[in-house]
Amino acid sequence: MRNYILRRLALMLVSLVGVSIIIFVSIRLVPGDVVSLMMGQQGDMAAGQAEQLRKLFGLDRPMYVQYLDWAGDLMRGDFGVSLRSGRPILPDILLRAPITLELAILSALIAFFFSIPIGIFAAVKRDSLPALFAQVGSLGGLSIPAFWLGTMVILFSSRYLHYYGGGTYISPREDLIGNLRMFILPALVVGFSLAAALVRYTRSAMLEILGEDYIRTARAKGLWDRRVVLHHALPNAMIPIITVLGLQIGFLLGGVVVIESVFALPGMGRLVVDAINQRDYPMVQGVILLLTFVVMVTSLVVDLLYAYVDPRVRYQ
């Protein structure tokens, strides 16, 4: 097990170097550099200043020099300074990371706790009316775009509950209730679409397993239905569910941009989209690299979880 983890970590390091090069080059290949974007429509007014600014930002140097410079600073834990705001990057990322993390975890929890029972139910009582509702509901969750649902939710809550809550982050250490109030609506919206996928995976995994011979054997022994489902079928159905959940968390960490914008949550998604739109190179590089790292760690954790849910899985 330990060797396996070490091997994975070493691989991770190699991947990170590769990813860092790809990010570094690709963001620079996008037309319109940070200076162009900074001048924007005022370019006619600021026309004389472009070269001076590029020099100031060190963008006139060869690309490999810029990369080595950045990578060297990174080794020392220095993520650099945002070209757009002039603020150091790491503190700005750390300011947003807890917000995205909390949203991802809450949404995943909501999705997990709703989807597993519903998925099991939809499989066990597959011909019943409630199971049909579960099926239709999950189809809805997959098809309804989160930004639309989010917009409807905030319009409803602001109009009838007089609550919006976006804009400023309330730390759970300061005010847990306030913090949860802030996150509950976006987490429900994200959780809903996530749950929709999980319900379908759970249902199909359960249906497959419930048809297996060992389930029939368990039933033949005279075991209760509940015991058969929860102790014999569910653990085996968990493998695809955990895989999906793991992948989704990676997606959540970088992909809830729209929800963050609609609910004005100051998270990583907004940070990275703004940075890309403004070609704030060091910011894009810093955030994407960090997100890559988190996704890699998540997938490692998911892989390790397999060993717990499925005794047949062994890591050498």
Binding site: D33, M38, L95, T151, Y164, G165, A264
Partner: protein, 545 residues
């Protein structure tokens, strides 16, 4: 709008006889100042509000301004930095103009009025003597003197610290004559100087404070303005606090102003509905409609300086021929652009945006603004450019740009010009624009501190911003003349000729300036919307609750 309609929208307007008389007195005063209130920023609802600074008369509100309270606003984006001499974004301007004072300021009609500089003389065309207000303190308690003014203007000019060389490049010498007098000489007579000194990007900083911060003002702010920056958390909020040492009596009325950063339109709508913010601004007419008949909100409609336009590259065939460019100008019906793309919510404009009332010629002065397809086709025939195919670059960044492109395409088709739309990403479009790598290009152009920016800056053959590559000696001469004419009335006449000449030469097609909408809770008083999107009169706002 009838009076009863106004009353429905704004419960504040149920006048008593005395209040009505007061208001009439104010309006009359406004008339004598040449500032008919109804025309203040052309803001429909502004007719009900009295900008206290512009008009030194008692306000018509029943109780008069009350001090105290925190104004909660919703802002769309983060400030991009706080160094007043470097930043260019409106989001940064909105903070800088609260924390720093400028030498002059613009009143709601965009006329220059005194601020730190209470008066000035120009003994000759190249010398300015500025007299500063006495007893002005920075928020740290130190006195603002002529040394700080000299230091600030030098800092704007220095490429290491400032980015304002384009505006102040003509400054030759700067001297602090005594504590409250500054003498400036310029290498050429330079008319934009005063307007540039009124621009929010050109705030006066403290020499001592700036030097103590190693000339780096990106993250720290300390000025003599009505507010101080108390807190900034990116993507969350900008919190301003009242500067208790502010030199204008009783100002600002608010104890503070907090802007929550809410990028999404629907998010700002929700925050308004949930009453978590007192005001928010929108470009979308549909959003304004949501609040239009709701007594819990007051809607301000303001035309802005941003103008929808198409750049024409005068150095590529067949656009080198002025007749082809003129043909396009005659071929289009500008009102149709405004009606179909901006739902009629805006005003038609020429080279200087229509809300710049001091300088802009009315569009009725341009014969080319009357659609004449036959003339257009005759001009094309004369130039041998019938059936020409021309490429137009446009970015989906702004829906108005793409909308205008489609209308232009269909209207030019009617005179036989085949306009090929090329949609490119925003950054790509900007690069093409800077490099004049286009035949035609659609872009919403922003306001400038001085008419020089709309004219000399864009079309003088030696200007770095002449992306249309126009080179016309007569135009150059006119442009130089407006730049060196210090007398405002004479300059206005020259600028009228300049605008006619630009429309005649057509290096750009101008369509309209659109409206923006400020949605406010009714207890926010003293609101003064500005066409240049400035919030400089936040110091006059107060809360009636």
């Amino acid at each position: 709008m009838s009076n009863s309609e106004i009353n429905k929208k704004n419960p504040q307007l149920n006048f008593t006889r005395r209040q009505f008389l007061n208001l009439s007195a104010v309006s009359l005063g406004a008339l004598t100042f040449g500032n008919l209130l109804a025309s203040c920023s052309q803001a429909t609802e502004v007719t009900t509000e009295v900008p206290a600074t512009a008009l030194p008369l008692p306000t018509a509100t029943p109780t008069g301004p009350k001090s105290g309270g925190i104004l909660m606003s919703a802002a769309e984006t983060n400030p991009t930095g706080f160094d007043p001499h470097k930043v260019l974004s409106l989001s940064s301007q909105s903070v800088c103009e609260q924390v720093y004072d400028t030498m002059f300021e613009l009143d709601p009609n965009l006329n220059v009025v005194p601020r730190l500089c209470k008066s000035y003389e120009t003994p000759d065309d190249k010398t300015y003597i500025f007299h500063l207000e006495e007893g002005v303190l920075f928020s740290d308690g130190t006195e603002l003197t002529s040394e700080d003014v000299v230091f600030s203007i030098n800092r704007m000019l220095d490429p290491e610290s400032g980015a304002r060389a384009a505006w102040f490049g003509s400054v030759e010498t700067l001297e602090a004559v005594d504590k409250v007098t500054v003498k400036m000489t310029t290498s050429i007579p330079y008319a934009p100087m005063i307007n540039n000194l009124a621009n929010a990007f050109n705030g006066i900083v403290s020499k001592k404070f700036t030097e103590a911060n190693n000339n780096n003002l990106d993250q720290v702010m300390m000025g003599s303005g009505p507010f101080t920056l108390a807190e900034y958390i990116p993507d969350q909020l900008v919190r301003l606090e009242r500067n208790p040492k502010y030199w204008r009596k009783d100002k600002p009325y608010l104890d503070g102003s907090t802007a929550k950063i809410i990028p999404d339109d629907q998010g700002r709508v929700a925050a308004l509905r949930a009453k978590e913010v007192d005001d928010a601004w929108f470009i979308d007419a549909k959003v304004a409609e949501l609040f239009q008949n709701d007594p819990e909100y007051v809607v301000y409609e303001v035309p802005v300086l941003t103008h929808a336009s198409t750049w024409i590259n005068c150095s590529v065939e067949p656009l080198t021929d002025v007749r082809v460019r003129q043909a396009m100008s005659y071929a289009i019906d500008r009102q149709a652009f405004l009606d179909t793309v901006a739902f009629g919510k805006g005003v038609l404009t020429g080279p200087i945006p229509a809300p710049e009332k001091e300088w802009a010629l009315p569009v009725s002065d341009y014969p080319q603004y009357k659609q004449d397809k036959e003339k257009a086709m005759a001009l094309l025939k004369e130039a041998g450019a019938e059936g020409a195919t021309i490429q137009l670059k446009v970015s989906p960044q702004y829906v108005l740009d793409t909308g205008n492109a489609q209308v232009l395409q269909s209207q030019l088709k009617e005179v036989g010009i085949n306009l090929e739309l090329v949609t490119v990403e925003w950054g790509n479009l900007l690069d093409a624009w800077f490099a004049s790598d286009f035949e035609m290009l659609n872009l919403l152009m922003l306001g400038q501190p001085d008419p020089d920016g709309y004219t000399w800056g864009r079309f003088h053959s030696t200007s770095a911003g002449n992306f249309a590559k126009i080179n016309d000696p007569d135009l150059d001469k006119l442009l130089d003349t407006q730049r060196s004419t210090l007398d405002r009335t004479t300059r206005k006449n020259v600028l009228a000729d300049v605008q006619r000449k630009i429309v005649e030469l057509t290096p750009m097609l101008y369509y309209y300036c659109y409206y923006v909408w400020g949605i406010f809770r009714p207890y926010v008083k003293g609101v003064t919307p500005m066409a240049n999107s400035s919030g400089v009169y936040l110091m006059n706002e107060w809360l009636d609750k």
